[in-house]
């Protein structure tokens, strides 16, 4: 394979992306797929808000409404927020730590394709007899009683995409432990790398309980096992425990990387070292640990008893302490900084009050007696949208602007970016702020309509108007992307001029081997140190130019995932006695997967080398 970039045809480009093991291209795949699912989930959200715009509305039927809310939540958490975060992790983390790629490039690609096929499988339920309808939490008593195949699509689809997530998490753990450049000690890692590390550890510990729970669910529905059926000695509450032992850490899997992204943005645009770096690291780890000790705060009303409720209430409130530390550190980073209000910084500034509002309602809900009032009301809906939209989605939009030049060597339009922010931010608060009051006034969550004249009409209408403002914001962002792509102006290295970390030190477009020479890291904010010392190249090198070993592209991850996708259909239709083809399909699917795995094991794939001479000839190579 040659390193000289040739202009490729369309088909060749597609094939390149289907087989790529390059973290930068996998980042783009995650970005595209995550955006697609974000739009799907967004359309579902708009349908929900249209239905609830006025009392006694019949825009959608009750059954369809249940399918829409279930798919909205599931899609947004598993198929939009997580993959979009993986997009930025893949784009930035290997570069931040001075690595040529992740530790297992093949597994990186496998993780992506498993997620994508799982997501497609789940969404095909819309066309194959109805989507799941028991909420994203899929509580067992409800989901075991659900007719049709919706819940089976949920369980099997999440099982496949969950395997992809687990693989991606393990990959980042190994990458960050083993692939750091010389001098990149743990306490010199940029905060986005740190939060990726802790979030990956949470993935490692949190996804297995979900896998177990989903398998129990699959067995109960497909083979009449009785894990959750109390009539036959099972226990429906066990599902709730397994789900939330996964589910609460999951919210931190999402929000910690968002914290990391904002930490980078604050430091960059306040043009100041992040305040309290070591306390930020400590707080991140502490949140990770406490995140596993609090799951039952989702189950206060189950009847666990006052002792259990009290313990989990106190543990939950404790999380507010490290979270508060982070907020103060961000404020003190901005304090006295030389602030430049770019689009990412605007999002970051909007994030602080929004996320704090969500955190405060969280601490309110942590008080078990009060939660008896708040539980399953619109107050809960307001809370988790304040943390998820006000924290994670704002972080994703901010980083889309911030990292766009890193990923595509183009700069999104700043003016349009700020207009996008205004629409989205106002729309967000308009949609969700009033829902606090709806909840306190007694409006339950997950209802398909409500009776007029209870004082809920106005607030619901305001909420729907807000949702449309957010939709305008999202459309503007898409327009921005299209305009930028058509203009196609190269942004060059360090486009924000204030980059502090290694990813900005690399020439643009980023060479496919990332670093011609592995950098030597001489402190926190490596690139900043070099810049301040007048080093034009932005890096000190740890090695002379020498051959670089690279992995080959591979189509096998796609095939492994495709096999599981096919097998899932066999498993799903196995319950229908008239579908005799289900077992053969199951076997064929598994055969594809295992054949692909065996090919991978038996065929030696040693990769290739980029030779020293070639590297020296590369433009920019002047050593």
């Amino acid at each position: 394979m040659s390193s000289t970039a040739k202009k490729k045809g369309f088909g060749a480009t597609i094939w390149d992306y289907l087989t790529t093991v390059d973290h930068k291209k996998i980042a783009i795949l995650y970005l595209i797929a995550g955006t697609f699912f974000f739009v799907v989930g967004g359309i579902e959200a708009m349908l929900i808000r249209i239905q609830l715009a006025k009392p006694d509305n019949d825009f959608v039927s009750a059954g369809l409404f249940n399918e829409i809310i279930t798919m909205h939540g599931t899609t947004m958490i598993f198929l939009a927020a997580m993959p979009l975060l993986f997009a930025f992790m893949n784009a930035a983390v290997p570069l931040q730590i001075g690595a040529r790629d992740v530790a297992f490039p093949f597994l990186n690609s496998l993780g992506f394709w498993l997620f994508l096929f799982g997501g497609i499988f789940l969404n095909l339920s819309w066309f194959l007899g109805g989507a799941p309808d028991a909420g994203w939490t899929s509580y067992a008593s409800l989901s075991l009683a659900s007719p049709g195949h919706g819940i089976d699509f949920y369980a099997l689809g999440l099982q496949i995409s969950g395997a992809g997530t687990l693989i991606a998490g393990i990959n980042f753990l190994v990458t960050i432990i083993n692939m750091r450049a010389p001098g990149m000690t743990y306490m010199r890692m940029p905060l986005f790398t740190w939060t990726t590390f802790v979030a990956s550890a949470l993935i490692l510990f949190a996804f297995p309980p979900l896998t177990v729970g989903l398998f129990f669910m699959i067995f109960d529905r497909m083979f009449d096992a009785n894990f959750f059926d109390h009539i036959n000695g099972g226990n429906t509450v066990i599902w709730e425990h397994l789900f939330w032992i996964f589910g609460h850490p999951e919210v931190y899997i999402l929000v910690l990387p968002a914290f990391g992204l904002f930490s980078e943005i604050f430091a960059t645009f306040a043009r100041k070292r992040l305040f309290g770096y070591s306390s930020m690291v400590f707080a991140t780890i502490l949140i990770g640990f406490l995140g596993f000790m609090v799951w039952a705060h989702h189950m206060f009303t189950v009847g666990l008893g006052p002792t259990a409720n009290a313990i989990f209430a106190v543990a939950t409130m404790a999380i507010a302490v490290p979270t508060g530390m982070k907020v103060f550190n961000w404020l003190l980073t901005i304090w006295g900084g030389n602030i430049k209000v770019t689009t990412p910084m605007l999002y970051a500034l909007g994030f602080i009050p929004s996320f704090v509002a969500g955190g405060v309602t969280g601490v309110m809900q942590a008080s078990a007696p009060l939660d008896y009032q708040l539980h399953d009301s619109y107050f809960i809906v307001a809370h988790f949208h304040y943390v998820i939209v006000g924290g994670i989605v704002l972080a994703l939009f901010a980083s889309a602007h911030y990292y766009w030049p890193l990923m595509f060597n183009q700069m999104l339009n700043e003016t349009l970016g700020k207009i996008t922010f205004v629409f989205f931010f106002i729309g967000f608060h308009c949609t969700f702020f009033v829902q606090h009051f709806l909840g306190l006034m007694g409006m339950p969550r997950r209802v398909f309509t409500f009776m007029g004249g209870q004082g809920w009409d106005q607030f619901n209408l305001i909420s729907t108007v807000g949702a449309f403002l957010m939709a305008i914001g999202v459309i503007l962002l898409v327009v921005n992307v299209i305009i930028t792509a058509i203009k196609n102006e190269p942004a060059g290295r360090d486009p924000w001029k204030d980059g502090r970390t290694l990813e900005w030190a690399i020439p643009q477009p980023v060479p496919y081997y990332n670093f011609k020479q592995t950098p030597l890291v001489r402190g926190l904010d490596t690139f900043w140190i070099e810049k301040m010392e007048g080093n034009k190249e932005g890096m000190t090198y740890a090695e002379p130019i020498s051959d670089i070993h690279m992995p080959n592209n591979s189509f096998i991850p796609f095939m492994i995932s495709l096999g599981l996708f096919v097998a899932a259909f066999g498993a799903l239709y196995h319950q229908d006695t008239d579908k005799t083809w289900s077992i053969p399909v199951l076997i064929i699917g598994l055969a594809i997967t295992f054949a692909s795995m065996i090919t991978r094991s038996l065929k030696d794939d040693l990769g290739y080398h980029i030779h020293k001479e070639e590297l020296m000839n590369e433009k920019g190579g002047k050593h």
């Binding site: 432990i177 550890a201 000790m293 039952a296 008893g305 020498s546």
Partner: protein, 110 residues
Amino acid sequence: MSHDVEARTRSKHEYEYARKRANQGMRNQVTVFAIMIFLTFIAFAAVQAGMSAYLVAPLILLFAAVQVALQLYYFMHWSEKGHGMAQFFMYSAAFIAFTMILAFVTIIWW
């Protein structure tokens, strides 16, 4: 290969040091292996001797815990340098699994 090949021979002292360490490692592994066999033997003997289950069960659990620790520290080299991360993750996992089990036995099953 990412770097140019560099050939290097070990000095006599280095060689002897490495040998001594390997010997020490071997001795530790054999000793630990013997201890593990011995513990297993006692466990079987306790059952055979027909002692009370209230004595035998905790005894076996204790021996199991000791054997897991020996396995990790000697056969999987935790007692040597450079295994800090693995230890940290294993202890974290054990801690989290413990809280889960504690919760299950206290608020779900009994």
